[in-house]
């Protein structure tokens, strides 16, 4: 039986599933319900200094729905906790005491002055929590006041605040990164340089989810006006996965602990983050969409998969995909694939044909011997995978490797060896391979 116990920067939890700092972790009531449901840990909703901030009194969420109103992306203009600091600290203390085996990390956001960070850290330490997370991520509201992503977008600030925090607390310090930057490796490197124990990512992506075409107001609309929010949920997962991988494979931050966040909805999402180097994961939108019970599916799914693949512990698969993430220039150009359509499964919708015909390589027929039939023309197929992407039938189109022979498209023999762009004759800057 797979062992799901997790130790992340020294913080233990019975499983790697934590709730991210957000409404689900805003109060004792919610967090106790989460722990009862089985969550391994929480990052408490971000605390700030008194007087407590206020939230809008109108709608704070916007959404992107699929046709059956499945929530694909959620956006919010909520700020950090809007309750007095001491109320939160008392509740954190009580919960940690009652649930000693669960991870309790407290998220923090205060103005960019050493005394402010030193002050709040001292008070937070009294709760008995396991660690802190520095919220340098929220892209809305707080950033206008020089906090949140306003800090996260300047690597020097990240490094500076991380250093202050490490100087003023014995607790592990996790730096939460914003995706609203051009290259996530820079803030990650800064966090490491500042002495932080880990990074967590991603926080939400700056977004406007929709515009009301009657009132011309962005949504959510507060009295006819809107402000950009932070986007999260399944829609942001690919962005988050890439950012996690970039940090995991960067020479300067390789091996630096990462807590993966962004669109995690099922065990499979979580496993993907972990193979790309995340030591554990945090979840917000999935819980806000379905309630806390979703963690039970995550636990059992991960367990079953680990058993099937004989991964005894999380360490057996964490980071396993990292070596396979590479730069484009190193991809093997001798690897040739051709699409193959399974005629027994084909339902003849013709989508593969029309997308290939209109937008790609004219490599799929629509009529063969006078009959509606969709077949790949190997002499035209570049192996691009567009047909697979649009085919509505699972496993109907396969990309099949052509390991030997001549590629009928290029008329070149398939070479058994590997060769990439760095040695390609068309590359003006190629390195000539030593023969």
């Amino acid at each position: 039986m797979a062992d799901l116990r997790s130790t992340f920067v020294g913080i233990k939890s019975p499983n790697p599933f934590w709730l991210a700092s957000a409404p689900p972790t805003d109060k004792e009531y919610n967090v106790v319900r989460a722990f009862k449901a089985g969550w391994g840990g929480v990052v408490w909703k971000t605390l700030g200094e008194d007087p407590n901030i206020v939230n809008v009194n109108g709608p704070r969420y916007g959404y992107v729905h699929g046709p059956d109103r499945r929530l694909i992306g959620l956006n919010n203009i909520e700020l950090i906790t809007d309750r007095p600091l001491q109320v939160n600290l008392d509740e954190i203390t009580a919960v940690k005491k009652a649930w000693p085996d669960r991870a309790m990390v407290v998220s923090l956001m205060v103005p960019c002055e050493e005394k402010n960070w030193a002050g709040i850290l001292k008070r937070v330490e009294t709760t008995g929590c396991d660690g802190v997370e520095l919220n340098f991520g929220c892209p809305h509201g707080m950033s206008e006041r020089g906090m949140g992503s306003a800090v996260g977008q300047v690597p020097e600030y990240i490094e500076m605040v991380a250093r202050w925090c490490k100087a003023h607390t014995r607790m592990p310090v996790i730096v939460k990164l914003t995706p609203n930057i051009t290259d996530v490796r820079h803030p990650a490197r800064a966090a490491k340089k500042g002495g932080a124990d880990a990074v967590s990512l991603i926080n939400t992506v700056s977004s406007i989810v929709s515009v009301d075409l009657d009132t011309f107001s962005p949504n959510p609309s507060i009295d006819g006006k809107g402000s950009h929010g932070g986007y999260c949920g399944p829609a942001v997962k690919p962005i988050a996965l890439n950012m996690v991988a970039e940090i995991a494979r960067d020479a300067e931050t390789r091996g630096f602990p990462i807590s993966g966040i962004g669109g995690i909805t099922t065990w499979r999402d979580a496993a993907e983050f972990m193979t790309l180097g995340a030591g554990n994961v945090q979840v917000c939108t999935a819980a806000m969409t379905y309630g806390f019970k979703v963690v039970q599916e995550m636990i059992s799914g991960l367990e079953n998969w680990m058993d099937e693949k004989s991964h005894a512990t999380l360490g057996d698969f964490v980071g396993r995909a990292v070596p396979n993430v590479t730069d484009w220039q190193y991809l093997n150009l001798n690897f040739v694939t051709k699409a193959k359509i399974n005629q027994d499964l084909c339902i003849k919708c013709g989508r593969c044909h029309i997308v290939c015909e209109d937008t790609s390589h004219q490599a799929i027929t629509s009529i063969v011997n006078g009959k509606r039939q969709f077949e790949v023309i190997d002499a035209e197929c570049v192996g691009c995978n567009l047909c697979v992407s649009v085919c509505p039938v699972e496993d109907c189109i396969d990309m099949v490797e052509m390991a030997t022979g001549v590629d009928p498209r290029t008329q070149r023999p398939i070479s058994p060896g590997k060769s990439n762009w760095t040695a390609h004759p068309n590359n003006p800057g190629r390195k000539v391979a030593a023969e």
Partner: protein
């Protein structure tokens, strides 16, 4: 004789009639439509389009629903089929577009094209805007005989091209079998007349009801007075059974009964038998059987002479009848209708067997009690009003691919032409094609 026997009105509690004759399928809600529309794959050269007799761009109209543009969707439908609203309700989609849908092949669950079509056309008709305009008037005048689906579709398309249309119909109301034939639960809330009003909304079309060709008008005169004539007269006659006892009271023509039902405001006042036998195997047989049942008849049996696989009514229609409690017996043909005091009491039928495609009685007979017998064994064309001006084939009007008859200036379409499918949607296509042909004729002829 028991109290319930015989032909009686008011067999049901008064409030039950409205329930029984309500919409067969509740319309899709906006959300249901969005979910269903998302199931469409937007196929390339979509097989559903080919399967639609009017060639509606189905994937496009479904995509417009999915994108929250139901009125644009309706326009796409009406571009190809001006009776898209009625067709959405009455088309046997299970043998047309939905049979061809790739999701039928994939999972046996086609996209609900008919219901989506209704969603879109209802949305447009609710606001009542006519999305088409008449072109500048050409000064040409076209006469149309018969204001059923074929005639109305022809008229609308001609009006679009700027021609002046006058329609003549023998009945007091227009819309043909949409008004007098289609099962009541398929076209509730006076839909047939609302659709006519919608179609006439384009302008340039005049309807004269109560005017019959052969009685009030002659084809010869029409061809002289108008630049072109379209015949969409349907099939006014019905086949007889040709067995003894056909004249007994209680032996009824199904189509006449359905027409009466459709025109009855208070169905509690419409009389129906307790035990009913319907003879036939098509849509009319199913419709009269089901509606008799809904009127409170206790036993309703359809007798069909051949094997069930030959029934013209689709499997879907057969299932509908059976879920409403109608019994379908096949391999039985009527031999004699038996009566007492001039009124039918039973029907005697004979089992049949089919050898090498030939149907023959086996000699074994069966007697079924009945106080009402409906004849639903097909309609016939009546060529007399044509005065011999156009050629017939297989008893109906002969036309070419453009729906031209043998006579210049005369076109025909719908049930009255030879080789048709006898469906509302085919009648609409005939009317549309004829209008295009007439337009070509009127705009090129010098």
């Amino acid at each position: 004789m028991a109290a319930d026997d015989g032909i009686k009105a008011g067999r049901l509690p008064p409030e039950q009639y409205a329930k029984n004759f309500a919409d067969l399928h509740a319309p899709l809600s906006r959300h249901e439509a969005a979910v269903e529309a998302d199931r469409c794959y937007f196929c390339y050269d979509a097989p559903c389009i080919t399967a639609c007799p009017t060639g509606i761009d189905i994937p496009m109209f479904i995509r417009q629903i999915a994108a929250g543009n139901p009125k644009g969707s309706a326009k796409t439908i009406l571009d190809a089929n001006i009776m898209g609203g009625m067709c959405a309700r009455v088309c046997p989609t299970e043998t047309l577009c939905e049979q061809a849908c790739v999701r039928e092949a994939a999972e046996g669950k086609p996209v609900k094209i008919g219901q989506l079509q209704r969603f879109a056309t209802d949305a447009l008709m609710a606001v009542g805007t006519q999305p088409f305009k008449c072109a500048a008037t050409t000064g040409k005048r076209v006469a149309i005989v018969g204001a059923g689906p074929a005639g109305l579709a022809c008229a609308h398309r001609l009006a679009m091209h700027g021609h002046d249309v006058t329609m003549f119909d023998a009945r007091p109301k227009s819309a043909g079998l949409n008004e007098y034939g289609i099962a009541a639960y398929k076209a509730v809330d006076n839909f047939a007349q609302r659709e006519v009003d919608f179609i006439l909304g384009i302008g340039g079309i005049k309807i004269e009801t109560g005017k019959a060709l052969g009685r009030d008008l002659t084809l010869d005169a029409l061809t002289k007075d108008y630049d072109a004539v379209f015949l969409g007269m349907g099939l006014p006659g019905v086949n007889g059974l040709g067995v003894p006892g056909e004249d007994l009271k209680g032996v009824e023509d199904a189509i006449r009964f359905i027409a009466e039902l459709r025109q009855t405001k208070d169905l509690a006042k419409l009389s129906v038998g307790r035990r009913i036998v319907v003879i036939g195997g098509g849509m009319t047989a199913i419709d009269v059987a089901v509606q008799s049942k809904l009127l409170g008849a206790e036993d309703v049996t359809i007798l069909y002479r051949r094997g069930i696989e030959h029934m013209k009514a689709s499997v879907y229609e057969q299932d509908l009848a059976q879920t409403k409690g109608v019994r379908i017996k096949h391999g039985l043909q009527p031999k004699a209708i038996i009566g007492e005091a001039g009124h039918v009491t039973a029907i005697e039928c004979e089992y049949t067997s089919e050898k090498l495609g030939k149907l023959a009685g086996t000699g074994e007979t069966l007697r079924i009690e009945a106080d009402m017998v409906f004849k639903a064994i097909g309609q016939t064309f009546d060529g007399d009003p044509l005065g011999g001006l156009v050629a017939l084939g297989s008893g109906r009007i002969k036309v070419d691919a453009e729906r031209r008859t043998s006579a210049v200036k005369i076109w025909a379409g719908g049930d009255c032409i030879a080789g048709g499918k006898d469906l509302t949607v085919s009648a609409v296509e005939d009317g549309k094609q004829a209008a295009e042909s007439i337009n070509r004729f009127l705009t090129t002829a010098v």
